[in-house]
């Protein structure tokens, strides 16, 4: 096999592997500021019939000196993506849309079931366990961050 062929094959393998094996967690190549914001334990929830909605969760760690304000979220897998919170009054749980979520300076924001979380509507199709999907967080004064999530139970 000529060295040119080997090089071509190698290039193809690299290009394909980028598509197939997306890293789960923060996509560092998208941002030069990854030392400021760390994203851990990012995962999405499988959708259930009628596949009307799904949710995503993660922990955002802000190592910077200023609060980071999330003002939106988007994904190619859903037409509508929103920031939501859950209010608890006695035994009543109330889910509400919010305009922003704050990752405090030198602190963290845990997006989890029953608390602040990301909501998705009008899904392109069912979100199946094991699916990998890209999700982009939009910040008020910070570059957008794209994360690859795995769909879990």
């Amino acid at each position: 096999m000529s060295s040119l062929r080997v090089l071509l094959l190698l290039t193809l393998v690299i290009a394909c592997s980028d598509e197939i094996v997306s890293p789960v967690g923060s996509d560092d190549s998208q941002s030069p500021y990854s030392e400021v914001l760390e994203i851990e334990d990012a995962r999405a929830r499988t959708s259930r019939p009628p596949h009307a909605n799904s949710a995503a969760f993660m922990t955002l760690i802000n190592n910077g000196n200023e609060d980071l304000v999330i003002v939106g979220v988007k994904t190619p897998r859903a037409k509508v993506a929103e920031l939501h919170t859950m209010l608890q009054e006695d035994d009543k749980m109330k889910m509400r849309r919010v305009e922003r979520l704050v990752v405090p300076s030198k602190g963290e924001l845990e997006l989890k079931p029953g608390a602040d979380h990301l909501m998705f509507f009008e899904l392109d199709k069912a979100w199946r366990i094991g699916d990998k999907l890209k999700l982009t967080l939009l910040f008020a004064k910070y570059p957008e961050q794209t994360v690859t999530l795995e769909v879990e139970k």
Binding site: R45, R48, P49, P50, A52, N53, S54, A55, V80, E82, H84, M86, Q88, D91, K92, M93, K94, M95, R96, R97, P113, G114, H117, M119, F121, E122, K153
Partner: protein
């Protein structure tokens, strides 16, 4: 001496198996229909321990989380124990939750759940009996409307009486402990 020791041992065993309280001022019988259109009357299923949760299929967070936690508990029970329990998911969204939708939704969980539905009036009456609550709320969201609802899981004994409940923020082990006291 040995007799005395056995006596104290027996006493300590019986004390650890303390009776669960009976909450007879709430709860009670009801008649609804399941996801296959068949009538379900709570009292006709006496003899089984029932877990009762009020939820809805478009519920984005609380309901799938609760069902996933019940599933976790379920997997820790033996087949013999599982056969003594019924899991009831009563819809508080009569407008959207058709029996077909309930069937598809509950069928997506690896758990034998009986989906229950009734009219709005029936559900209001039943949730009131169970000291629970639900309310349709318009949202500034693509969800259009959601249902605020009580989020506890009731544990009903073989005679149809409430013996406790587990709040949403309690771990699955709390439910397992309650069930173990009744099994």
């Amino acid at each position: 001496m040995l007799r005395v020791l056995i006596f104290f041992l027996l006493i300590s065993v019986s004390c650890s198996d303390e009776e669960l309280e009976i909450y007879n001022t709430i709860g009670g019988d009801f008649v609804l229909h399941d996801q296959f259109g068949d009538k379900y009357q709570l009292s006709e299923h006496n003899g089984k321990i029932r877990l009762l949760f009020f939820g809805f299929t478009h519920c984005p967070d609380i309901c799938p989380t609760t069902l996933a936690e019940v599933q976790e508990v379920w997997q820790q029970l033996s087949t013999e124990q599982q056969q003594q329990i019924e899991i009831l998911f009563a819809s508080v969204d009569p407008e959207r939750d058709s029996s077909d939708l309930l069937r598809d939704y509950l069928g997506s969980f690896d758990l034998p759940v009986i989906g229950l539905r009734g009219s709005d009036a029936e559900m209001l009456e039943i949730t009131a009996k169970y000291a629970s609550f639900y309310e349709k709320v318009s949202l500034d969201s693509a969800l259009m409307y959601t249902i605020d609802h009580s989020s506890q899981t009731f544990v009903i004994d073989r005679r149809g009486e409430i013996r406790g409940w587990v709040a949403y923020d309690q771990p699955p082990s709390a439910l397992l402990e309650l069930l173990n006291r009744l099994l």
